[in-house]
Amino acid sequence: MNNYKINKNKPSIGTEQVLKHKDFNKVLHEYKGLYNYKNATKPFYKNVKFLGFIVLVCTVALVVMVVDREESEEPKEEKKKEEVIKQVPATVTPVIADTTTKVTTEEAAIVSKKKEPKKSVVKKNSHTIIKEDSSSLEIPNKPQTSMPVQETKGKPKTKAEVKNNKDLIYQKNMEDLEKELMERHKARDLE
């Protein structure tokens, strides 16, 4: 037997009594509290924002790794190119200053004809001067390995740039040589 409280024809509760308990704000407040609580207790691995963040971090890390690897491979290729450039023998023809230099073309021709040095060898400023007597001079060959090539960072220089650079250095050496020749000419005149 169950214990029920049986009410027969009992008048229902009045409207005023019912409405005094009516409070939607209370229900809404409870809902907000419950909603926050549910959010707080949600496991982090089920949180969509958390998972999204993890995916984002992984993607960024992957991109950084790929970029790093590409950058580390680039310098090796540059070194290889530089080595190849150094190994290639220089084919640049000697540049002799025209009007500005005091060395004439005839003198340059005479100097170039004397190939084999006979006596003293003088080294000066990365070019060689071979001395037989006061008139014997040799224009040094274009420097090959000793020629300073500017270190390039990042973008490698083009072949034309390298060639121009070599020409300038060679021209500079020639100017030094011309000065020396001039000094010797003066010395000879004085004698």
């Binding site: 169950n2 214990n3 409280k5 049986i6 024809n9 509760i13 409405l19 308990h21 939607f24 419950l34």
Partner: protein
């Protein structure tokens, strides 16, 4: 007071529009709260017979309604039916936990309907009524609930089925089984 609501198609559509807004913003639930508060309160009060307890359970019903509103689907019944369903679950849960005595509110109209089904309409005596009252004490809570919904609140079997989470036919079958049980109990009581 009638605890059932009969709505036109327009009213139902308007209600669905409010529900759709309330899904996005719970503060928009206020019109439905105002509309159904008294109905749900009285529904609960008939089964608890305690004002404060009824107020608490009513608040719980609306709270659960707001929380579960995103999962609400219109199945051909007014929104109030969904609220009654939540209320039934809340009442059952409360009495399961507290084990306090449940109230059964009976009116003459409901008793007459029940007696008609029991073929006891020939004579309306105090003895018959006493036996009927006694028979309720032998019934389980879910059985009492079926009789309440069908005879004392005058609901259709379809709605009874929806409220109890069973099909219409199942609700019919269960109701007539309970009626047979009541008949049996009354016979036994008469013999005694």
């Amino acid at each position: 007071m009638a605890l059932t609501t009969h709505q036109t198609k327009e009213e139902i559509e308007q209600e669905l529009l409010i529900i759709e807004r309330a899904r996005k913003n719970p503060e928009r639930f206020a019109p439905l709260y105002d509309k159904y508060y008294k109905l749900i309160f009285l529904f609960i009060h008939r089964r608890t017979d305690e004002e404060e307890l009824s107020a608490d359970l009513t608040s719980q019903v609306f709270l659960k309604a707001i929380v579960n509103l995103p999962g609400y689907q219109f199945k051909g019944f007014p929104f109030s039916a969904w609220l009654f369903r939540i209320a039934i679950n809340e009442i059952n849960q409360f009495f399961r936990n507290k084990k306090s005595s449940r109230a059964i509110s009976l009116e003459d109209a409901g008793i007459d309907r029940l007696r008609e089904e029991l073929d006891e309409s020939s004579q309306h005596t105090e003895e018959q009524e006493r036996l009927l009252m006694e028979s309720f004490t032998f019934l389980e809570q879910d059985e009492v609930q079926l009789l309440e919904l069908r005879f004392f609140e005058d609901r259709a079997f379809k709605e009874v089925g929806y409220l109890l989470g069973v099909t219409e036919n199942n609700a019919k079958v269960k109701t007539y089984r309970v009626l047979d049980k009541v008949k049996r109990i009354m016979k036994e009581q008469r013999r005694k």
